[in-house]
Symmetry: C2
Subunit: 163 residues, 2 copies
DNA sequence: CCGAGATGTTTCGCGTGCGAAACATCTACC
DNA sequence: GGTAGATGTTTCGCACGCGAAACATCTCGG
């Protein structure tokens, strides 16, 4: 690896800050929109996903919102308590629980204008097509590099315990 | 705003995924490195910051790790309980608490190879200087656009209550 | 000097968020 | 058909993470 000039170092820091900014800002947005509907961030996300896709099993929901089942169980507990969703035990596979919006939940969902992540997406859409392509190319290069480093520097005993 | 073609839409989604991936991966890394030192993610971050910068007041620490004071109070409580840091009441301003690594904490810090965020940074450094500049240009454009949208779509009552 | 507001920290209550273990049910293989 | 392992969900214990309120101390104007 070539030595890094201080100039580059500084630009790297800026990029890093930008990524963190974009991520945290999109979370802040979710929270703000949620607050107006008397919801929490994750609850708003769940409501909008169920509105868009329809009933989902708890695991499917966990995948969608990138959280563990145990986390989602808690979120759904509280939403059920508030009467926003209901749990329906599947008849085909009685292990499975389907989560469905109640009328109250559906009404609430319809009153929330946009998925908050859409704000972030629409910001990206203000870029030119060329810029988006460039951005994607660069980001995926970074992502690939991160994966490499992770495998090399952090992965050693992960391998051992994956056995 | 021009209409968005489905092609662009898809690329936007990819960019979005990439940003989320990079962010969550860097968090996962922190956690993995922390686990090896019997620490939590935030605790590792604190230990490394104190090692690098030296004593900090609780508020300064909160700024550094982008968390609320109340959150950091809890983190420091647990670290103090584990004997990793100590609280020192400032003599100049008795409201202020300085956080200092104990010997045990300093030893631990020295055994942890890198700040985890460094992995992310070093991935960025694998890009060419030109790519970094491009990336930065594009990302800051996105960030600017997000700010605009936020002010327009979400900021209305934020203004009102800022009064 | 002294009291009002500013500032630094903690406390409290709540909602994630995780991993491990428990539990229910299903599937496959014998 | 019975059971061992797989799969879906919940429970548990813990550590954030936040905002509001409480608390301690400081500062500044009168």
């Amino acid at each position: 690896m070539p030595p890094i000039s201080p100039d580059i170092k500084q630009e790297v820091d800026q990029v890093f800050e930008a990524v963190v900014y974009l991520y945290t800002e999109s979370r802040r947005l979710t929270k703000e929109l949620a607050r107006r509907a008397q919801l929490t961030g994750p609850q708003l996300t769940v409501v909008k996903i169920l509105e868009t896709i329809g009933d989902l099993s708890l695991s499917e929901l966990s995948d969608k919102i990138r959280a563990q089942n145990s986390t989602v169980t808690g979120i759904i507990d509280r939403m059920e308590r508030e009467g926003l969703v209901q749990r329906l035990r599947s008849t085909e596979d009685r292990r499975v629980v389907h989560i469905r919006l109640t009328e109250k939940g559906a009404k609430l969902a319809s009153e929330i204008p946009v998925e908050p992540m859409e704000i972030f997406r629409s910001a990206l859409e203000s870029l030119s097509a060329q810029e988006i392509r460039d951005l994607m190319k660069i980001l995926s290069k970074v992502a690939k590099r991160v994966k490499q480093i992770v495998r090399r520097d952090v992965g050693e005993d992960a391998v051992a315990q994956a056995k």
